[in-house]
Symmetry: C2
Subunit: 652 residues, 2 copies
Amino acid sequence: VEGITPMVDGGRFAAKRVAGDRVVVEADCFTDGHDLLAARLLWRREDETRWREEPMAAIGNDRWRGSFGVDAPGSYVYTVTAWVDPFLSWRHDLARRVDADDIRIAALIGAELLETTAGRAEHDADGKMLNAWAGRLRSTEEADALKQIGLDEALKALAERCPDRRFAYTFPAELPLVVDRERARFSTWYELFPRSTAGNPGAHGTFRDCEARLEYVAAMGFDVLYLPPVHPVGRERRKGKNNALIAAPDDVGSPWAIGAAEGGHQALHPQLGTLDDFRRLVVRAGEVGLELALDIAFQCAPDHPYVKEHPQWFRWRPDGTVQYAENPPKKYQDIFPFNFESDDWPGLWQELKSVFEFWIGEGVKIFRVDNPHTKAFPFWEWAITELKRDHPDLIFLAEAFTRPKVMHRLAKLGYTQSYTYFAWRNTKWELTDYFTELAHGPGREYFRPNVWPNTPDILTEYLQVGGRPAFMARLALAATLAASYGVYGPAYELLECQPREPGSEEYLDSEKYQVRHWDLGREDSLQAFIARVNKVRRENPALQSDWSLRFFPIDNESIICYVKSTEDLDNVILTVVNLDPYHAQTGWIELDLATLDVDPHAPYQMHELLTGARYLWSGARNFVRLDPAGAQAQIFRLRRRVRTERDFDYFL
Amino acid sequence: VEGITPMVDGGRFAAKRVAGDRVVVEADCFTDGHDLLAARLLWRREDETRWREEPMAAIGNDRWRGSFGVDAPGSYVYTVTAWVDPFLSWRHDLARRVDADDIRIAALIGAELLETTAGRAEHDADGKMLNAWAGRLRSTEEADALKQIGLDEALKALAERCPDRRFAYTFPAELPLVVDRERARFSTWYELFPRSTAGNPGAHGTFRDCEARLEYVAAMGFDVLYLPPVHPVGRERRKGKNNALIAAPDDVGSPWAIGAAEGGHQALHPQLGTLDDFRRLVVRAGEVGLELALDIAFQCAPDHPYVKEHPQWFRWRPDGTVQYAENPPKKYQDIFPFNFESDDWPGLWQELKSVFEFWIGEGVKIFRVDNPHTKAFPFWEWAITELKRDHPDLIFLAEAFTRPKVMHRLAKLGYTQSYTYFAWRNTKWELTDYFTELAHGPGREYFRPNVWPNTPDILTEYLQVGGRPAFMARLALAATLAASYGVYGPAYELLECQPREPGSEEYLDSEKYQVRHWDLGREDSLQAFIARVNKVRRENPALQSDWSLRFFPIDNESIICYVKSTEDLDNVILTVVNLDPYHAQTGWIELDLATLDVDPHAPYQMHELLTGARYLWSGARNFVRLDPAGAQAQIFRLRRRVRTERDFDYFL
């Protein structure tokens, strides 16, 4: 038994699924000689002691497949066992025999085998029946009759109930599996700065203002509302507008410079509101279908209470200062990093874990974690495992934009979802290559992408120069390529695209350093477009998972074309996006109809879900046109022709 | 530290190399944060206790590479260790600093670091020098000067001699490596039936007759002479000519039906000669550059002495008989298989191992093992490991034509070389796909192909119908696609192609069941062609290993084109073969000149090594023509233009 899938690093790390999934497990099972094998899939919840068993079937080339269903979040383990099955081997051998003498000898061997099997039977009735079959094999003379008896399906079923598993080989590792709730696989995120939600321009927004914004966000079809840190902002070395090193007296500073006299990671910024206000926001969000996600940024402003209370958690330099945090090329002069190698690491780790626990206690189940790659790997594995033991419905999103292997390692250590390089993948080739890797590479077992066309840190050149069509295209790509995506709003729907300076991905007048007021009702807002796209996502299960993604050729490098589908091909969604924000583009798509279960000789309907338009297509090659002046993207649902009994066609 | 290559099944099985190789090892080494790493490759002979160390260098994307040389056959182990290097991290950080105060603080930190490093120095001189550098960092004021001191290459070299490896992480498995002698990688086999070597037609050949044949085989350029079993042939149930179930009185039977009154696996067939004759043959073969390989077939004729002496080694049926051996669809009515699950398996295993030991004692170092997949996997792992411990220069060739995973498992268990599916891969697509897998798939670390266009069991349809051109094409393919290949002769060079019946791969009048007399001097013999091809193999190192193989496009499905080369591209061999045995074929090759280190703007010479003809080519696209009436294959050596000082060109 070897080559089990899924298996992450030989079982060192867990594969991931969500509740409701059937977990399909495959393995290579083979032995020397010509004997036949039987194999079983063993699985259980991690805290159970007895294996449950599922049958496995050979699917060719010594590969076996089985599956089990998981209906609740939590930790599971599974493995595979296989054994040489003397009865199946004997039966296979008997089927090949033609010589009457050979058959008679085989019958005697079979009778002996069945008698031994009978001795092993768990139920007396089975034992008796096996002995009866053995008797028939011993007492029958005629070769054809013997063959018929030996090959009887009822006998096979009976013998398979009492296998001889004394010499079974069980794969030596129990392979871990983490089952999350469905939102881990399918989620639609909206990030906003609470302090920019005041109705009154210039005022500092509050949790109450956020409440008033909930309907607006929910109406666009988002289900996770993610807030940057809501804690007191440090005053020492506070940043001014546009990342200025010296703040003006009225500057609000960066919310990621956490901690001041009012408190640290377990306190709220006084200008946002009280803990009661926060609790109310959590509840009100839930009422409109939004789940609140908090940003966990393990770092401190110089005036964070930790700095005085636990100086041992920081790395002091010979001149008595602490080197500010960096994530090259970014410099965070207003932030001290923790020293995860501190001698008091147990104290630090416990305290940081308690930060999660505090907010879990306030009803938060989703955490976006800031720059996790700059903190110790072992801390994450320990903290996430501990927290999920008590709260299997937690979701952790890793905000790591770093080297690929480090991002993958964080996902293996327990992160539920991961930021990706999507923001910087713009051409057809880049998108095809990257999303093929995400959807079909080995990392898909543990790395769940959450793709963002923008964040407060990332205003890509494409968005800077491409205008509204660029924002439409990138949103359509994010929403249809990935089951989980998010935008930083209202900057996104309001097409915010001025960089701080040429060549920068920072926003001019970034909300990271100042309060902004947004005119949500602007006529060019993408609000309605986003709402339509998210409605399509909600209504089409094909778009709610990642693995079915396939790209189809189209004879224009500016148009990308891909299909996602449910396993039963009941829901098939084809998306085309114009990657050129300036010009209309046309092209001929080449579909692989066989894999879509489409009759190549009958017309089929392509129902464009953003506009409601319906197109009649036929055959593999079909024409599309996308125009920045109108639609930069089309999302089609495939509807196959159904012939009614009264010889009347419709499309379903 | 993870993702080490080579690594077979997490270190469960050994990778394979030959003496003289440099073993290149790569690994992913990374950590959280921005600290810099150092990594070392650890290796030793298995029986040594101390690791040897080689440097590893980062090659991008967190991948590191190092290598070590192995000069003698035997068992080795290796692994990788890596650590966060505070000095390198500090140096990297210092290089980025521009602010003078920052640089001064960094210098103090560096001084402290160097003083700690000095305490760890193995040599006093190093410690003193480190302290001196620390002093300079402490006493210098000027920022630029400090930076220069800190970044000094001499300091780096000094600090790297005294790394802090207390927190080094060493990959937890010691990865095994089997190093064989060079013949394991590059060998040219010739199989013949000794009993068919008599000068006198109708006589039973002897070892003395074989001696007379040695020159002929050596002159064709072979280096391994492989003999089917040379033991007494059973008389009970002996097969007659053409696999007849009843033998005529003068039938000689199959040499694979081993054992009779005269003895078993450690005896010689009396008609072949005495042990002295055999010893003489071994010596004489060596004198002409041929190494003798014996066939080890663990099975018995019904009258093998084992059957009476050790009945417990066989599986007796209720009627007191033993089921004859089968390798479906083949039936060996004249052979009893061993029961490897016998209660006396320790006795059986020891006895079988002693068979190898007996022939090793007689000077045989190469064994072709018959149908190893029908014997117990654990037996092979045990026997081969034990035998190679005392005799690391042994070579075992697995004659298993079975399911891919079983063939791979046998190679993992210790077989040095493996038979392949080559005989049944005929089209360009099949050959390209299969040899790309063999040369570039993960199995190449342990599965060394030995390809045979024919064997006594395999007369393919292609050879049956294609005549002499088919024999030329298949020999050229075998000899240039694989570093190890063999033919069953003289059937091969004499174009033996009559099947026993239509649809069969068995030879008519097969030597397996009767003595044959061969007319070696026949005019249409491929003897001279084979000699030329093997000479090309000996003279061109590119053809002596498997991993450099690359296929190039040619616009004709009947012609296949590929290149093998040495690592330094000094020896580049391009082969084209016409797969159509009936018609002349022409085509345009498309070469990737950049990968061959060929100047696209200068002519280059293609020196055809079978005929000696020289062609002047230029650019990527070049024309070839292959004609069954003349050459079915061309083997070109690339010769690049060299300009002399006197402005005179020649091709080297």
